[in-house]
């Protein structure tokens, strides 16, 4: 399938010089000199090699259709992340590299979408917003403005992730996090 550069996203699979690559990062730039382009970081599915390419709007980019499969995250063991397909109970142990930056947002039992290519998981897509229980929220200290302003504090979430949240957030509460930016969105009232 021939596509335009704005279709290229993290997690999609593209054909490049006869090999298949999964996109690990795609940055769109309009440099003001020459036409806009997208810089794509991608990893070869067959050889694991990482490469970087820029594409212009006139370029044909061949995006390979991959199947999206709902997977459940189980646990991390010996450097591998285990997922299960709840439809057929198939297990997948994935390397850190496939998960990339998203690994910090994983929590036990969480549902994610896997990009499947020939029965292999080539990328993991985390929901854009995820709820987490706050496991540690120090009381806000007055005058604690060295690294931040006066409205946010660092809290620890159930999966160990540390984020900045409003000072009124207490331990045991549930908050919604934007997994694209790592930013607090809102408190979920039970």
């Amino acid at each position: 399938m021939s596509s335009s550069i704005s279709d290229v996203r993290k997690g999609c699979v593209i054909k490049h010089q006869g090999d298949l690559y999964v996109v690990t990062d795609a940055r769109f730039t309009n440099p003001g000199k020459g036409s806009p382009f997208v810089t794509v970081k991608m990893k070869s599915i067959t050889r694991g090699k990482t490469t970087e390419m820029t594409y212009k709007p006139v370029d044909d980019i061949e995006i390979v259709e991959v199947q999206s499969q709902k997977l459940q995250y189980l646990y991390k063991n010996a450097g591998f992340y285990s997922f299960m397909n709840n439809d057929n109970y198939e297990n997948y142990d994935l390397e850190e590299e496939i998960i990339g930056d998203s690994s910090k947002y994983l929590k036990d039992g969480m549902e994610v979408y896997g990009s499947m290519f020939e029965d292999r998981v080539v990328a993991i897509n985390i929901p854009p917003k995820v709820q987490y229980k706050v496991t540690d929220a120090p009381p806000a200290v007055k005058g604690d403005t060295a690294s931040s302003g006066r409205l946010l504090k660092e809290v620890t979430l159930e999966n160990g992730l540390v984020v900045k949240a409003p000072i009124f957030i207490k331990e045991g509460e549930t908050i919604l996090i934007n997994t694209d930016t790592g930013e607090y969105c809102e408190r979920i009232n039970d």
Binding site: N30, G34, F37, T39, S148, G149
Partner: protein, 343 residues
Amino acid sequence: MDYSLTTNMNHIYHIDRNFSKLQTRFAILKLIREFLWQDKFVEIEAPTIVALPGQEPNIQPMQVVVKDDKKKSFKGYLHTSPEYTMKKMLATGFEKIFYLGKCFRDEESFGGTHNPEFTMLEWYRQNASYYDLMDDLEKLSKFINKKLKFNNKNIAKKWKRQTMKQVWQEFVGVNLDDYLDSKKMCQLCISLGYKPAKTESYEELFYRIFLNKVEPFIGKDVPTIIYEFPKVMASLSKEINGGKYAERFELYYQGIELANVYTELNDAEEQKKRLQSEQKTRAKNKSLVYPIDEEFIDALKTGIGNCAGGALGVDRLIMLFTMDKDIDNVIVLPMSKLFNKEE
């Protein structure tokens, strides 16, 4: 106060999250002014709404409609750079001037290394060439590095200065002299495995190779100035080397372009020709087309002398010091926080 009763405070939390970076931002803005004032520059103002914006083919101005007291409408644009205004000022005798303020460019990404509304430092020196502006940039960055005690070792080192020809030799392995027209550059692209369209301009072809084979490798350790651009890529700058190249340079650091500087073209006829050619490219690209600012050409006819001018992306300079990868973190309220993209 019960914060939980208010909205989700998207704006206020953004500011709070970046509190210390924003403090750094304003300290840097202050130092830029101090540095230039010490050197007897005058800070000027330029209208941000203009009737006739720049003709650069790949820069899109934002349209605005202004109504007078009788509700008669005028079509204007937010300036993409204060260049025309500043050159009109140079023609009347202003000598060393700078603009530190907002510029606007449409069809840019919200975040990353762009914000459609951004802060630019544009500065001009009379009786100077772009070599003087290379010194300005290096000294300014070192001044900020020292005054704010960043102690960034790479910025403190002596900066690298390489010609475009040298970096093509080093990273592409070819003599750029042999590839100064579209036909030759197109052949080079094909031989390197690209599939350019037949209609691509020299600049497009040049950047295909430059963006993939050169840019990622320059300015990795120390800030690097790349100078002497092929003439066709420097529409507002002075020619050198028998018309093959022009006095334009760009500053790169860690994969980001920070500044673009010229020894200014002061030949009105030549300038008009180049703007007409850019205007045609705009039409071909189906971009907005508007008349050439004839008073800008008049400014050159009146005489702007031998001057050099540059544009520095100030938000990006701040990112360099705060070590940020996302421009949003150094802007009070970036575009990405103003509109709800999900709507």
